[in-house]
Subunit: 346 residues, 3 copies
């Protein structure tokens, strides 16, 4: 359990504190559920009411709720400074560096003496694992794989041969990096599997969710660039390139050879057809289907199946339920017009 | 192979048997594929024809097909009594309780002497596993995890630290419980990971499908309540609460902080946006996209992207293909009206 | 690194070579990225320009680009012959047959002396593994499972008891074969799990993607026929039958008891409702929702939610964004017609 004075925490954050700076913080909770000892934060107008009633002992906030009974840690970016505070209250636990005698580690691999390899990992020939990396149980590292400093691979992650994982990367349980891309050449008698001789490169600071899958390239590489985050169950096809600091929400699927710029956000369950380009800075709404390249010049927000500029899609989406009525009205209009015409003609 | 007289089986089920009560049951099959020795059931009008032709030796049915050649086990709820019969014919095989010497079990954990821990499981400090629990190979139980009585964790399940699994729970192979929620605080230079310091609570009688993922809470808990069933590849975001006896079909995704009531059914590939509420008793059609909270007062059935009351959606869905024709008709109406107006004006 | 003369490679492929047949091939790359020593191929008009500028040393092509500086391997089916060439340049690496002493293999199982079982695999009673099969680390083979010749099971694959895997099958990391179908009988107090007593049969030459899930049958079998390919994260429900040489793209979900013919293609994220039939030869566009059986007589291409014949859907999809305008026009038409009528009446 953490224990720190609000004023000390504010000092570490470089923030000003007002109100009861001596309040002792022993936990953290949402603004609605927080109680005595908890730190919380206020970042959304939706919770304005809770700002004056929360039972938290301290709050990170952009504004002063005018309460003397709690500590208010002032911040221009409360969600960010609250996250920083959580890292102070709940520092990541290190693991004692060691290679478990219950792991199967090829003698021709290079594991830093400051790395951790837990039981039942299988490390093949030519693998390198840099310092402070933590490899949880049941991980498989194929021949020639590289794992950078401070990177964490959670249980049962598989990294196929030749893939390269950067520094400070987090790959959650069950994710698979470098499985064969889905490529088959049709011929008279069926399909011939196309050898997938490329690899996957995961750059620094990337996070990949549980049971996500990132396929190796057919030729060349599949690349996920610095700082990008993939949520659980995301699929990335072969030869895809995803830029920096992208956010790809759960169950989205990115088909082969797609090129995504920087700072792109894809909502959950989005699908992107193959060989498209998505410009930097574009946001795509959840459950969209993207059959064409998206240009930021045309719109920075896209939604729908097929994807339209977000505002156009919003208008379309709300009017869809009116189609049956429209049909009726059109039929009545046709009848009335016919009547008018015949009366006129008659 | 099971072997039981139809009359004896009916007795165990508390059902009346008519026809050939002496028929010997040695297997089970669908009404269309059943042969001599098989038990089958009749629960859907779709198979009425098969009722009089099935080669099964015994049938669980609400009605009497008037056949003397087979045993008819009368039931008010044939699907349910057939399932009960299967449990009698094919009782779950117990496993000899034991902790495999090939598992890595922390000395400061508490495994019941009546539990089974198979090879290559990794059990961390402070874990408790109650009696009759079965932990298949390759499972990872993080620090402080609790696994209740009779619970089965199939191969390669990962349960992150601090999560609590109730009694009689089934978690299928590859599912991940308690991975980090997808939360990042944006700042000038990129994203800061928000520590996910909450946990996941899985209540009694829950079943979770293969490769499904349930994220731990950012703060507080993610909770799946008693009796709820998640199908394969379902995603449950951080801080979600799912009520009792819900059925969540395959590949559905539930975003962070959603609150779902009891007896809710979500069709496959449904997506629910974050922070919404879905009232108890609501049924959602497959592949729906839910961008707003669903009120049972407004409708108990919802479908579509975005989700509409089911009947309204049905009307909309069937009329969508008429849009191109509607467009043509509107253009023609405009022309004709212009013509009428100009004739009138002229 | 491969090293072969273009003329020798062409000879092995049974193709004619023109241009610089003596060019030495040491690698392979896409037509745009290829450099000296690389083999590439030309199969899509999209890359016609690159045909005359590529720096590759050799190209598999249907037509002669008229360049004397590179080797042109003539082929009626360039993608196919390029794939064949890759198999020659990069032959699959065999593994030394062996059963790892770090695997847990039941004494009453039959592993061919020519098969490979890697560390941390768990092989239960009655399993048979035929020659040249390769079982990667962390795989679980339940009681009575059969694995055919030359089949590869990548890390952390789970095959539940009683399932049968054919020859030359590839199952990628984390895939789960034979988990329980999603079946529950509702009764007054909740749901009773319906025992899933069937199995899964995977025929020869099938490939199954990373973290895909194929459920065992409730009664009888779930079957995936010869040559069919499932991409990552695909879900196949209980009692499904998929025909030969089908291509099921990533994140598609096939509900229980669906019957799919031969040579069917499903685009990514497609969903198929339960108990439907899809005729042989049908192609379904990505992200489609299929609520009814698809007849090849009606159309061989289908798309949309709900799925329509592809051409009809295309017309519908492009016209959807016009709905808001249509609404406005209809309202104006109604007003004008009213005005005309009242003028006429007045």
């Amino acid at each position: 359990m953490p224990k720190i004075r609000a004023s000390d925490l504010a000092g570490k954050l470089g923030c000003k504190v007002i109100g009861d700076g001596g309040a002792v913080i022993t936990g953290a909770a949402s603004i609605e559920k927080a109680g005595k000892g908890d730190l919380t934060f206020f970042a959304s107008a939706k919770f304005r009411k809770a700002l004056s009633t929360t039972a938290a002992s301290a709050i990170v906030s952009r504004e002063d709720p005018g309460r003397g009974d709690i500590a208010v840690i002032l911040s221009e970016n409360p969600a960010y400074d609250f996250a920083r505070a959580l890292w102070i209250l709940y520092p990541a636990k290190g693991r004692e560096p060691s290679i478990s005698p219950l792991a199967a580690v090829h003698e021709e691999s290079m594991i830093s003496e400051f790395a951790t390899v837990m039981p039942f990992c299988c490390v093949e020939r030519g693998v390198t694992v840099d310092k402070n990396a933590v490899i949880y149980p049941g991980v498989y590292l194929g021949e020639g794989v590289h794992v950078g400093e401070n990177t964490i691979l959670y249980p049962s992650v598989t990294v196929y041969h030749g893939c390269r994982i950067g520094k400070n990367v987090i790959i959650h349980a069950g994710a698979v990096i470098g499985g064969d891309g889905f490529g088959f050449a049709r011929h008279g008698g069926g399909y011939l599997k196309i050898p997938q001789i490329g690899n996957v490169v995961i750059e620094d600071d990337v996070e990949i969710g549980c049971n996500a899958t990132v396929d190796r390239a057919a030729l060349g590489e599949t690349r996920i660039k610095r700082g990008t985050k993939l949520d659980n169950l995301v699929q990335v096809g072969h030869n895809v390139e995803i830029g920096e600091d992208c956010i790809i929400a759960s169950q989205s699927g990115i088909s082969g050879s797609v090129k995504i710029g920087d700072w792109v956000m894809l909502g959950g369950q989005t699908g992107v057809a193959d060989h498209l380009e998505i410009d930097s800075g574009i946001m795509v709404g959840a459950k969209s289907g993207i059959p064409w390249s998206l240009s930021a010049k045309k719109s920075t927000g896209w939604s729908g199946i097929p994807a339209l500029p977000h505002k156009k899609w919003l208008r379309t989406a709300v009017s869809m339920e009116k189609i049956p009525d429209m049909l009726k009205k059109i039929n009545r209009l046709e009848e009335e017009l016919e009547k008018l015409k015949s009366e006129k003609g008659g």
